[in-house]
């Protein structure tokens, strides 16, 4: 590609896709300095704008691959914009930005060496979804591959982190190693060294990236790893004999969870509930063509619903030794350091009442309702509990011990009735049509968490179960599909706007409007 005699040689174009604050400016400077030292004419430009505030941005670099002294004083004219299809290298520090560049039609499979990080920095849109809004990494990789002449993929952020440096140094290493630019390694390292502060770390990052590109097959393997999905582990328990092997992994996990949550007896209740679904599925799907998919999902969601979150559970989880270790690891605590951990709790009346028997609980809740009626805030107790202190942990263990009185609380009772309602809905649905049962089982996914979140998700599940599942004059298949759409809609936004839209389309009744105290603001007449 680099033909120093040819005067028809064309400039080499490099597009750098990065996020604001990743040192793309430094990278541009490095490239310009290297080009100068190597004796080539070059140009770099960028469009930072306000992208320094974590937004997406690009940097553009062009180099004329004939040494200046062979140009007889003539100056190459460089472009300030990339030309679609005429890029020699595209390098991206983040996979979505690589895909964005690809979808803009800039790289092309006949010319472009495409170097991309496999790491993702999730966009707000992806993070705010209630379910899983993350883009499919393998799809993005495939997209990038499809417009590459040569394709390198590796986790640049990891390499940068491992070498305690910034991603720009890693990108330079990859770029230099790709061999498209007439840069020799020593020169690159010399320029980095002149950077002074942090140069050593940068050099390590540079070298690591160079290695990565040097050994192609490794990247292929890594890209593959990402495309593969992680399989579940399998475990066996005597109590579980008699259940089909297809569901064993889920079932054993679920059984452990429920046991750990309450006790053996509760675990037995779990197994019997799963059994009832299994029987229903066996009846409906005699040839078990679906590999007991409904029972499998049911054993997942049932376990999670039965081990519903409450302060007891939270206190238990937060006061385990394993958890202390996890925090030490996440906060990168060195042995010589001292660690203090504060838990952010804000239990309200409903959470506390949930643990109490009906008469007492009702009185408490009534009192809380009264407060709201008077325009006051619902009562709650914000605590920053110091779990690293003996007292703090002792308190947590005390609450965790309430696990034995949980059974007598109203929350437990409520959850069990709802679970039974769901269970029978699934079984009934199964009798009508296997798919209908399956979709109903998956509605367990809507059951989430704690406090307000839990209330909201519960309403969604019940509404779908009671209204969408039983709409009349429709075939089970239609209803199954309706349930799927409603369920997916319910996961998209908090307010349930999507759900309402879908419900409307399906002709199902809209969700009942929740009473919410809004302070009325009468505007007293303006003084002038």
């Amino acid at each position: 590609m680099i033909n120093s005699t040819s005067h028809a040689a064309r400039p080499l174009s490099v597009l750098i896709c990065a996020l604001g604050g990743e040192g793309g400016g430094v990278l541009s400077d490095w490239l310009m300095d290297i080009a100068r030292k190597a004796g080539y004419a070059a140009l770099a430009t960028s469009i930072p704008g306000v992208a320094q505030r974590t937004g997406a941005t690009t940097y553009f670099f062009e180099l004329y691959p004939v040494p200046i002294e062979q140009l007889a004083g003539r100056k190459p004219v460089f472009s300030l914009n990339p030309i679609p299809g005429a890029l020699d290298v595209v390098i991206a520090s983040e996979l979505l930005e690589a895909a964005r560049c690809a979808s803009n039609g800039l790289p092309s499979s006949d010319r472009t060496v495409f170097i991309t990080s496999t790491s993702r920095t999730l966009t707000t849109a992806e993070r705010t979804i209630m379910g899983d809004g993350r883009l499919d990494t393998s799809a993005l990789l495939a997209l990038v591959q499809s417009v590459s002449r040569v394709h390198h993929a590796f986790d640049m952020q990891r390499v940068a982190a491992d070498n305690a440096t910034v991603v720009s140094a890693v990108m330079l290493g990859a770029l230099a190693a790709s061999g498209v630019l007439p840069f020799d390694r020593a020169l690159c390292e010399e320029v980095i060294r002149e950077g002074g502060r942090g140069a050593q770390a940068s050099l390590h990052g540079f070298a690591a990236a160079w290695q990565m590109i040097a050994q192609k097959n490794q990247q292929a393997a890594q890209a593959q790893q990402l495309i593969n999905l992680i399989g579940d582990t399998e475990k066996k328990l005597p109590e579980l004999s008699g259940f089909p092997i297809e569901i064993m992994d889920m079932l054993s996990l679920g059984y452990d969870r429920v046991n750990d949550y309450q006790d053996k007896a509760y675990g037995q209740l779990y197994l019997s509930r799963v059994q009832s679904v299994l029987d229903a599925e066996r009846r409906a799907d005699t040839a078990s063509q679906n590999g007991f998919q409904t029972t499998r999902e049911m054993s997942r969601w049932l376990a999670l619903w039965m081990s519903f979150d409450d302060i007891v559970r939270v206190a238990d989880l937060k006061s385990r030794a394993s958890r202390r270790e996890r925090v030490r690891h996440e906060a990168r605590v060195k042995p010589s350091d001292v660690l203090a951990v504060y838990e952010h709790f804000k239990p309200g009346i409903p959470e506390i009442a949930g643990l109490l028997p009906k008469p007492v609980a009702d009185r408490l809740l009534a009192w809380d309702q009264q407060r709201l009626a008077e325009g006051k805030e619902a009562w709650s107790m914000p605590v920053k509990l110091a779990s690293h202190t003996v007292l703090g942990t002792a308190l947590l263990r005390l609450i965790a011990a309430c696990k034995y009185i949980r059974r007598f609380g109203i929350r437990y009772a409520q959850e069990q009735t709802l679970i039974e309602e769901w269970l029978s809905a699934v079984i009934a649905g199964m009798a009508e049509d296997t798919q209908l049962g399956y979709e109903l089982a998956l509605c367990g996914r809507l059951m989430k968490g704690y406090g307000a979140t839990n209330e909201r998700s519960r309403d969604h599940v019940l509404h779908v179960m009671r209204h969408v599942a039983t709409t009349e004059h429709t075939t089970p298949a239609v209803r199954a599909d309706a349930i799927r759409r409603a369920r997916e809609a319910a996961l998209t936004d908090e307010a349930g706007t999507q759900l309402d839209r879908v419900l409307k389309e399906l002709g199902a009744p809209a969700r009942p409007i929740k009473a919410q105290p809004i302070r009325w603001m009468p505007r007293t007449k303006n003084t002038n």
């Binding site: 028809a8 400039p11 310009m32 300095d33 430009t45 960028s46 469009i47 704008g49 306000v50 992208a51 320094q52 505030r53 974590t54 997406a56 004329y64 460089f78 300030l80 914009n81 030309i83 299809g85 979808s103 092309s108 999730l122 966009t123 707000t124 993070r127 209630m130 899983d132 499809s146 579940d232 992994d249 996990l253 937060k318 394993s322 925090v327 996440e330 906060a331 605590v333 010589s336 350091d337 660690l339 838990e343 952010h344 804000k346 202190t389 003996v390 942990t393 996914r445 989430k448 968490g449 406090g451 307000a452 979140t453 105290p517 809004i518 302070r519 603001m521 505007r523 303006n526 003084t527």
Partner: protein
């Protein structure tokens, strides 16, 4: 300031024959010194912030040259500064981003260009247009025409840009017209090199003062009746003088080419894109040697009729490559052809899109049509194929994706003190209902993006309070106006606060007092904590904005009766104060000041300090927030309330659960918002605050050791 320009400042000292390597905007800065300016001013804004930032940081160096550097309070004050050159033979330069800055400066510019200037005047204009732009899409060109100012649009080649700066001053003096030089974003940030000249000390400077003021001269005032004379002079003297200068010094470049039946007239700033496009047709080589005649307009106003007439005569057709709308240049040329009865066919926006940037891809499309029609001998099929291939590629990409890729707009930084306020506002609106939000220019306008999606209007910098004057009287609920301290000083105090008070408006103003104009690169303003304070303060971790009360004192002085200052990280308090402001019986102007230093500046200050403490083995506490995977309910309500870049998702480690859990990744600066939100919004109890004490005191170690041992007894595995 966000960036330190130590290295670049050294380059400003370079002398005759030495080679400057660096960014376009810094080359321009060097060129100003080479042109012997006496004063420099301006208002920061991408893409020209660096010019002013460098100058402010280089006050010492430029001081030696006797140059006065003024960081003006807005573009109007920068433009007014140029008034010095009306009477006195001093060269002055100012800078700002356009179109917005030029709009703000317009009044002063009109009154400057009416009497005209004696000393050379140059405005370095960041033409913030197209990809990466952050302002409205209008052309500075209109101002050059309406106020009769020179407009230069140099070829984006450092040596050319630098020469043009020196010519701009000379031409401004020769024609008495103020000069503007528009630089597109990519031109400001282009990296290249040029051979320097020595910096020039001006005859009149802070080093050699004028002894007497100029004698009174009514004709130097923009005041009737002399303004009528000014109008005549513009037409009869100044424009001709400018045109003569352009011809004499060959500022516009004429390139001959064998295909002389056609020609292309192009704005200088676009010429690189044009040459690269011509290369694709095989009509130019890598060094800009073209086969099609070109007229490159490094000066786009005024045009030189004779030059253009001479270029187009005996040509079948010419194509005008002009960016933006309306196509003023093309229209002027059309008039010219018509008046001179020249038969040449004129093309431009008929073959190119009227709106949007003229990137090489877009140009190639226009050129392909032009050549196909007027140079049939040229094979344009190859280019056409390439263009079609690109379109095909885009479509196939789109078809491969089952959804459009999510955008990644700029957002609040990690630990930004403005994010918590919008969390609080989100919560407040849950109680008092949705309110009309008059938004403004500044980092806080990032709240218009997800997950906040707040702000009904943006009427300009510091305009939020003024922009609700017509809304709030018509609205049952109160209206909230949001303003940064940058906007407040830029003009919000006068256009907003003063007007609201004078009219006794029932208004609510939320001021973000983060201490800097952060969005443009954290430049200092009058309410910035003093350097002295930064160095002397004992607790460097604390936000220092509270120590500068200029905003509070000003508001009190002008007569604001209802004012609350809240630390921006106190989400619950902020929520309650917002609710109070929106519901109180007090009918006048209510001002809430959200106190919290810009995190970028705070980190710039404390990072080296902490590093130093650690290296000296001293006690340092580091805070990181975390989330318990097994408690997190995968509902992501916390992210919808904050969207901090370090609060993101990871695969759920629990094989039973499918939805990803929230996680706090490295980079968390421990601002505390997660905890505040968890409480204020009653989120799930999965958040914990980890305080890591490095180099702890001996008794802390001892206590912790004892605790560890006892906890082991209490805790199950």
């Amino acid at each position: 300031m966000e960036i330190s320009f130590k290295k670049q400042i050294q380059q400003l000292k370079l002398g005759e024959g030495e080679v400057f390597h660096g960014e376009g905007i810094l080359a321009i800065t060097k060129a100003l010194l080479q042109s012997g300016v006496s004063y420099i001013g301006g208002y920061q804004g991408a893409p020209v912030s660096h010019l002013l930032d460098v100058m402010v940081q280089a006050r010492e160096l430029v001081g030696e040259l006797g140059v006065r550097v003024e960081a003006c309070s807005n573009e109007a004050s920068a433009a007014a500064m140029l008034g010095a050159s009306i009477h006195y033979p001093v060269r002055g330069a100012v800078t700002w981003k356009s179109i917005v800055g030029t709009n703000v400066a317009a009044d002063a510019l009109a009154n400057l260009s009416s009497p005209g200037v004696t000393g050379g005047v140059l405005m370095v204009i960041g033409e913030d247009y197209g990809e990466g732009a952050s302002v409205v899409q209008e052309r500075t060109h209109a101002y050059a025409m309406k106020s009769c100012m020179l407009l230069l649009d140099p070829r984006p080649e450092l040596s050319v840009m630098v020469d043009m700066v020196e010519h701009a001053f000379a031409m401004s003096e020769a024609s008495n017209m103020p000069a503007m030089m528009e630089l597109r974003i990519r031109a400001c940030h282009v990296r290249g090199s040029f051979v320097c000249k020595d910096n020039r000390t001006a005859a009149v400077s802070t080093k050699s003062l004028m002894s007497e003021p100029a004698p009174f001269n009514y004709s130097r005032l923009a005041h009737p009746p002399v303004t009528f004379g000014h109008e005549k002079r513009k037409i009869e003297h100044r424009l001709p003088a400018a045109r003569q200068y352009i011809l004499d010094h060959k500022l516009n470049e004429l390139h001959a080419g064998e295909h002389d039946s056609v020609g292309i007239i192009v704005q200088g700033g676009l010429s690189n894109a044009l040459l690269r496009s011509l290369q694709q047709f095989g009509l130019a080589d890598a060094f800009g040697q073209t086969q099609v005649p070109l007229l490159v307009l490094n000066v786009t106003y005024p045009l030189v009729p004779d030059q253009i007439a001479h270029f187009v005569e005996n040509k079948k057709a010419v194509l005008v490559l002009e960016e933006g709308a309306p196509e003023y240049i093309e229209q002027e040329i059309a008039t010219l052809l018509n008046r001179r009865e020249l038969p040449t066919r004129l093309h431009g926006k008929d073959m190119l899109p009227v709106a949007g940037e003229l990137t090489p891809e877009v140009m190639m499309g226009g050129l392909q049509q032009f050549f196909a029609q007027h140079l049939p001998a040229i094979d344009t099929m190859q280019v056409k194929a390439a263009l079609d291939a690109t379109v095909a590629r885009r479509n196939s990409m789109a078809s491969k994706l089952d959804q459009t890729l999510p955008a990644r707009p700029p957002g609040f930084c990690i630990g930004c003190p403005e994010r918590p306020v919008f969390s609080a506002l989100k919560l407040a609106q849950k109680d008092v209902g949705e309110v009309h939000i008059a938004a403004d220019i500044g980092c806080h306008s990032f709240a218009t993006f997800e997950p906040f999606s707040m702000g009904h209007s943006i009427l300009g910098y510091g305009m939020s309070l003024a922009s609700r004057a017509g809304v709030s009287p018509m609205m049952q609920r109160r209206v909230l106006s949001i303003m940064g301290d940058g906007g407040f000083w830029h003009n919000g105090l006068l256009t907003g606060v003063q007007s609201a008070l004078f009219n006794g408006d029932d208004a609510v103003l939320l001021i973000f007092k983060n201490g800097y104009t952060s969005a443009t690169g954290t430049q200092d303003i009058i309410s910035t904590p003093t350097t002295q304070l930064k160095t002397q303060t004992h607790d460097k971790l604390a936000s220092l904005t509270a120590n500068n009360r200029t905003i509070e004192d000003t508001l009190a002085g002008i007569g604001v009766q209802w004012m609350r200052t809240v630390h921006s990280y106190r989400v619950a308090t902020m929520r309650d104060v917002l609710k109070e402001a929106l519901t109180t019986d007090f009918n006048g102007l209510k001002v809430i000041i959200a106190e919290g230093e810009c995190q970028l500046e705070r980190q710039r200050r404390i990072r080296p300090w902490l590093a130093d403490l650690l290296s000296r083995g001293q006690r340092v506490m580091r805070v990181k927030y975390g989330i318990d995977d097994d408690v997190c309910n995968g509902d992501h309500a916390c992210i919808r309330l904050s969207a901090c870049p370090t609060l993101t998702l990871k695969d759920n480690p629990d094989p039973l659960k499918v939805d990803p859990v929230a996680t706090v990744i490295d980079g968390c600066v421990g601002c505390g918002l997660c905890g505040e939100n968890a409480h204020a919004a009653t989120l799930c109890p999965s958040f914990y605050r980890a305080e890591v004490i490095q180099n702890p005191h001996w008794h802390e170690k001892l206590l912790s050791g004892v605790r560890q041992r006892m906890l082991r007894l209490l805790q199950p595995a």
